[in-house]
């Protein structure tokens, strides 16, 4: 074992590299341990030639290594060069398997069996994790690999691919692509279907199977690996096949278990939680520090700055201000009173109830993704029906909520330390009331991402927000005559229930007596008419159901099931009845709502008798639309294929009004009864695409549109996360000649998206390198006249609809 180093840095991504380089610069004894045989594996695995971006642009870089936006190859070469020049001690092929010991005396066990002694550890292993390994006899044989870099490398081999996801299928297809390589490729699937893979991949695989290029073994698992052959467990017993190489692609394990094994606590059980950290990046295990993506900072610049900072802290420089200090200072500039960044952070943390558990580092991180505002008395914070999914917290002052749109004098106060705007965050719907400052007020506006991260990492904040939101939702639903004291009982007895898509909440004919509020997601109401489920109505988040049985004691008259993954608040019927007894006006309102719903019931039933086909058609169309994402949509493009002549003018107009790239694919997508849902953004209430965007570039705009701003780094996460495949990655094309010069002189490619070769040639001629970024519909936000696709359609086939309007019974009259 070599001498003990001051610090061992694990992982050579941008965070680890920067830390090691700073340690070398300071003359601190160190070693950088990297699992693979090259530096910075995550970036190494980017697509060849990817343009790497250096966001946020207002953040200064603090690192002995250079980093600027540019091609992946250039960045990696620069780092390799600088690491060598700066004499940084690096050990490649050194995967750390376990960390033992205490601060001042750690032992890092490498997978090879070697050990490294270190006083302190900096963990910078990113979030990629490790591939799942095979667990069968012989799994340690050298011909098993967990990655395939170049499928053309292997010839005349018997190769078995294990794993039925996209990675496995793509590898198998790659290996079998060229017959001349002479490989015999087999892919094993534990089940009968390839349910986890994209349908396009499955199709290609089935085709390759039909051609005899790949042998697909279903219901088969590996039993044992031997040199040159492999034993399989099949449905008909064991079988041995020749096998020179195994490629196992069965997913990967997030690094959390490894980190926890070192004695480090996470902030919560949630999948999205990060290790608990001190302001100097120290974990709950003294002496071990966590930085980079693993600490919750996925941008390369943040990673590099943290590497530098972590080493500075270790070196005793405790006064170091984080590099993002100027950004925060600029935010706080807008607030009254000359407080320092630290003082403001402390003000917010100590005043706002849900922030009190946070560490100063978490506070900083939260503030970077948030905004602060100061309002004078009477200033509007937001207006009823604005779209917005941010949440506000009051640090100083208080606000007044205009709960009744017809009577703006009647307001409900919200005090210092509390929060508001949480309904938009939870339900994804528009603001339910106008909110004004009641006195000079300082608030913090947490972006949706920041708020969700807070709720995921702080259980007490989560509980507090839950309680407040249930209470407010009740008050909002049942009108202005109530105050929090009236519903306190109900809130105490309420329960938030998660419902899977398609799960039934209320069964027709049952005689349970609970009442429900849709808190998130949406429901559909169905009635059984002569054995057919008939679609009655669509309930968006914020509506309530189940009141009929409570009020008149009858059996359930219809079934209610979740259109998508949803959350409902269950309220016991007795407690609700007690409230109705205490508040006669409320009973009246509830009776009114109920009568309206009865009417729909009766209407559908009457139609059923006169023309049954139309009711079925309506039900099935509604179900089809819900299956295609309308249940979570706010605004969808539909094409009536009884009218569409296929001119693609919608696509052309889209391209021409958005940088020359179309954001919709008209022909692709599903169709039912001539109603076509093209590949185009649904502007989901809870957009999946936002989930994992390193620079938080995806936002919701004032018209309710989900859009991507120009901080996008082109990582492709949103494209993978969108279940409807509506995001494309492409480079903004060069400008085209105008319409008239095309009409008169035939200059340029004409209206619509220019073909790829024209764009490429023109871009090369202009000598500009434009990065590929994520591109999607922005609903033509802010454009007078609205979405270009709809305006450009000559026949009226293209329409944009919102689910509440489109899934209403009114459509029954349109059909037939």
């Amino acid at each position: 074992m070599a001498d003990k180093v001051r610090v061992a840095i694990v992982g050579s991504g941008p965070a680890g590299l920067s830390a090691a380089a700073r340690a070398a610069e300071l003359g601190m004894s160190h070693v950088l341990l990297e699992k693979t045989d090259h530096l910075s594996d995550t970036i190494y695995k980017y697509q060849k030639g990817k343009h790497v971006m250096a966001t946020p642009s207002n953040l200064v870089l603090r690192s002995p290594l250079d980093f600027d936006a540019g091609k992946r190859e250039v960045i990696l070469d620069t780092w390799d060069q600088q690491m060598a020049d700066q004499k940084v001690t690096v050990r490649l092929n050194a995967e750390v398997a376990a960390i033992e010991g205490e601060t001042g005396n750690f032992t890092l066990n490498l997978k090879s069996g070697d050990t490294i002694a270190a006083e302190a550890v900096v963990l910078a292993i990113g979030t990629q994790g490790n591939p799942n390994v095979l667990r069968v006899p012989g799994a340690d044989l050298p011909h098993i690999q967990y990655q395939l870099d170049d499928p053309t490398e292997y010839v005349d081999e018997h190769i078995t691919v294990i794993g039925s996801g996209d990675a496995g299928i793509e590898n198998a297809l790659g290996l079998a692509a060229d017959k001349m390589q002479g490989n015999v490729v087999t892919i094993l699937n534990r089940g009968a279907e390839f349910a986890r893979a994209k349908s396009a991949n499955v199709k290609l695989l089935e085709e390759a199977e039909a051609d005899g290029r790949i042998s697909v073994r279903r219901d088969t698992t590996p039993a044992e690996v031997r040199p040159g052959e492999m034993v399989l467990d099949t449905r008909d017993g064991q079988e041995t096949i020749p096998c020179d190489r195994i490629i196992a692609r069965t997913g990967s394990q997030p690094p959390r278990a490894f980190v926890e094994a070192a004695g480090i606590d996470f902030t919560s059980e949630d999948r999205g939680a990060f290790p608990q950290l001190s302001p100097s990046f120290e974990t709950t295990k003294n002496g071990i520090h966590v930085i980079g993506a693993l600490a919750g900072y996925p941008l390369i610049k943040h990673c590099m700055n943290q590497g530098y900072d972590a080493i500075e802290f270790l070196n005793g420089n405790l006064d170091l201000k984080p590099a993002d200090e100027p950004i925060l200072a600029a935010k706080f500039n807008a607030l009254p009173g000359r407080k320092s960044v630290e003082e403001w952070l402390e003000t917010f943390r100590s005043q706002v109830v849900i922030l009190q558990e946070l560490s100063p580092l978490q506070m900083r991180e939260l503030m970077l993704d948030s905004d602060v505002h100061a309002f004078g008395p009477g200033d509007v914070v937001f207006t009823r029906n604005d779209s917005g999914s941010s949440m506000f917290a009051i640090a100083e002052g208080s606000v007044a909520v205009e709960v009744n749109p017809d009577d703006t004098d009647f307001t409900v106060p919200i005090e210092q330390g509390s929060i508001f705007g949480e309904v938009g965050l939870i339900s994804g719907r528009r603001r339910g009331a106008t909110v004004r400052a009641a006195e000079p007020t300082v608030v913090m506006e947490l972006s949706r991402q920041a708020a969700l991260k807070l709720l995921a990492t702080s259980p007490s904040a989560n509980r507090a927000v839950n309680r407040i939101s249930v209470e407010r939702q009740l008050l909002q639903l049942f009108g202005s005559g109530l105050n929090p004291a009236d519903v306190a009982d109900l809130v105490d007895q309420s329960e938030v229930v998660n419902v899977r898509a398609g799960e039934t909440v209320i069964n027709e004919g049952a005689d349970d007596k609970d009442i429900f509020i849709v808190r998130r997601g949406s429901m559909i109401v169905e009635k059984d008419l002569g054995g057919h489920p008939v679609f009655l109505s669509y309930l968006p988040a914020g509506s309530y159901f189940g009141e009929m049985a409570v009020i008149d004691g009858s059996k359930r008259t219809a079934s209610v099931k979740a259109a998508i993954k949803s959350e409902v608040i269950r309220l016991p019927g007795d407690a609700f009845n007690a409230l109705l007894d205490a508040k006669p006006e409320l009973r009246e309102k509830a009776m009114g709502d109920m009568a309206g719903r009865r009417e729909i019931n009766d209407f559908v039933e009457s139609r059923k008798a006169s023309f049954g086909g139309a009711v079925d058609m309506y039900s099935q169309t509604a179900q089809f639309l819900v299956d295609n994402g309308l249940g979570e949509a706010t605004d969808v493009l539909l094409i009536d294929e009884k009218l569409c002549v296929g001119c693609d003018n919608c696509e052309k107009a889209c391209a021409d009004s958005h940088d020359g790239l179309s954001r919709l694919d008209r022909e692709a997508g599903k169709t039912y009864a001539h109603l076509h849902v093209p590949t185009s953004c649904r502007h989901c209430e809870h957009p999946h695409c936002m989930a994992d965007c390193p620079p938080n570039a995806i936002k919701r705009g004032p018209d309710g549109e989900v859009f991507i701003d120009d901080t996008c780094i082109g990582c492709g996460n949103c494209q993978r996360n969108c279940p409807y495949g509506v995001i494309r990655m492409d480079a903004r094309p060069p400008k085209k000649p105008g319409l008239l010069s095309w009409l008169l002189f035939g200059a340029g490619p004409g209206p619509g998206e220019a073909n790829y070769s024209w764009r490429k040639k023109k871009a090369e001629a202009e000598g500009k390198e434009t990065p590929k970024v994520a591109i999607k519909c922005d609903m033509c936000s802010g454009v007078t006249g609205g979405p270009a696709c709809v305006r450009a359609c000559p026949t009226g086939a293209a329409i944009r609809v919102s689910p509440e309007k489109f899934l209403s019974v009114a459509r029954l009259e349109d059909i037939d």
Partner: protein, 298 residues
């Protein structure tokens, strides 16, 4: 005044309403047949005027009524032609191509009345009548256009069965790749038939075949018939291979059918514009000549 007091939020809510208010319906029904009503009114109005007023010596283009009708007609023609530009300019504004098309169709039809009354039924072999005749042809092609626009979309949609054009082509080439491999073990004569089928490119079939949807030489069908009739019941060892080729040929033929129909409907939906638009340009030229010559001889 009230709008002055609307908050930003209310205004936004309103504009959102407007976006969705673009009601679901065909261009022919736009705004409750507004343009149909206007066109009928214009036509009836001018027809009545034409019948009621007495122009000396007789109705023609040179009378005051003739000039009025001529000016309106020429203006209309120019405006109708501008649809070609409107359609291709996606600039912001409260317009829609659907509204334009609706007005285009009905006002265009009313030109039959306006233009013809303008002539005072004085037709002959001259540039003036040329302009009129071109106008009638453009209108006739337009009528063909709206008839295919109302009949074919449904068929196009049904034939597509959720496939895009690219997917159809891909599916065909997937079948072809399998056929190529499957045909190898067959007898020489059969393989040749299959290869002939594979070499035939649907996309190179002529315009006439495309419009009529006729299959032409259809080597796929020939290969299919050949292999199934001659060898279907021979129970030799090759039968499995033949079976496979037969299935694949069947699928190829069905796929070709879908592609042919798709191209046929698309062609029928587009072809008339290749008459409508060039004739429009010719019409604009003839119109210019007609007006110039009238003023020249005046």
């Amino acid at each position: 005044m009230a709008s002055l007091f609307k908050s930003a939020g209310e205004r936004r809510a309103q504009s959102r309403e407007r976006r969705h208010a673009a009601e679901h319906g065909s261009f022919l029904e736009y705004a409750g047949y507004r343009w149909l009503k206007i066109a009928v009114f214009i036509s009836v109005f001018f027809l009545t005027v034409y019948l009621l007023v007495d122009v000396e010596p007789r109705h023609n283009g040179g009378s005051w009524l003739g000039y009025t009708l001529g000016t309106i007609g020429a203006g209309l023609i120019v405006w109708l032609a501008l649809l070609g530009i409107r359609k291709r300019r996606a600039n912001p504004g409260n317009w829609s191509v659907k509204a334009w098309t609706s007005a285009h169709v009905y006002l265009g039809l009313s030109l039959v009345v306006i233009g013809t009354l303008h002539t005072g039924f004085q037709l002959g072999w001259n540039v003036h009548t040329l302009a009129w005749a071109l106008m009638v042809l453009v209108i006739a092609s337009g009528i063909y256009g709206i008839s295919v626009y109302s009949m074919l979309p449904e068929k196009l949609s049904e034939n597509r069965r959720e496939m895009t054009r690219e997917q159809m082509v891909e599916s065909l080439s997937a079948i072809d790749r399998q056929l190529e491999a499957a045909a190898l073990p067959l007898a020489r004569e059969d393989t040749d038939m299959v290869i002939a089928a594979l070499e035939h490119d649907v996309f190179k079939e002529g315009l006439w075949q495309r419009l009529t949807g006729r299959r032409g030489r259809a080597p796929t069908r020939r290969a299919l018939e050949h292999i199934s009739t001659k060898r279907a019941y021979a129970d030799d060892a090759d039968d499995a291979a033949q079976q496979k080729v037969r299935t694949l040929l069947g699928r190829r033929s069905a796929q070709l059918d879908q592609i042919r129909k798709h191209m046929r409907y698309k062609a029928l939906l587009e072809i008339w514009l290749y008459v409508h638009v060039p004739l429009t340009i010719a019409l604009l030229a003839a119109l210019a000549a007609h007006i110039l010559s009238v003023f020249y001889y005046w």
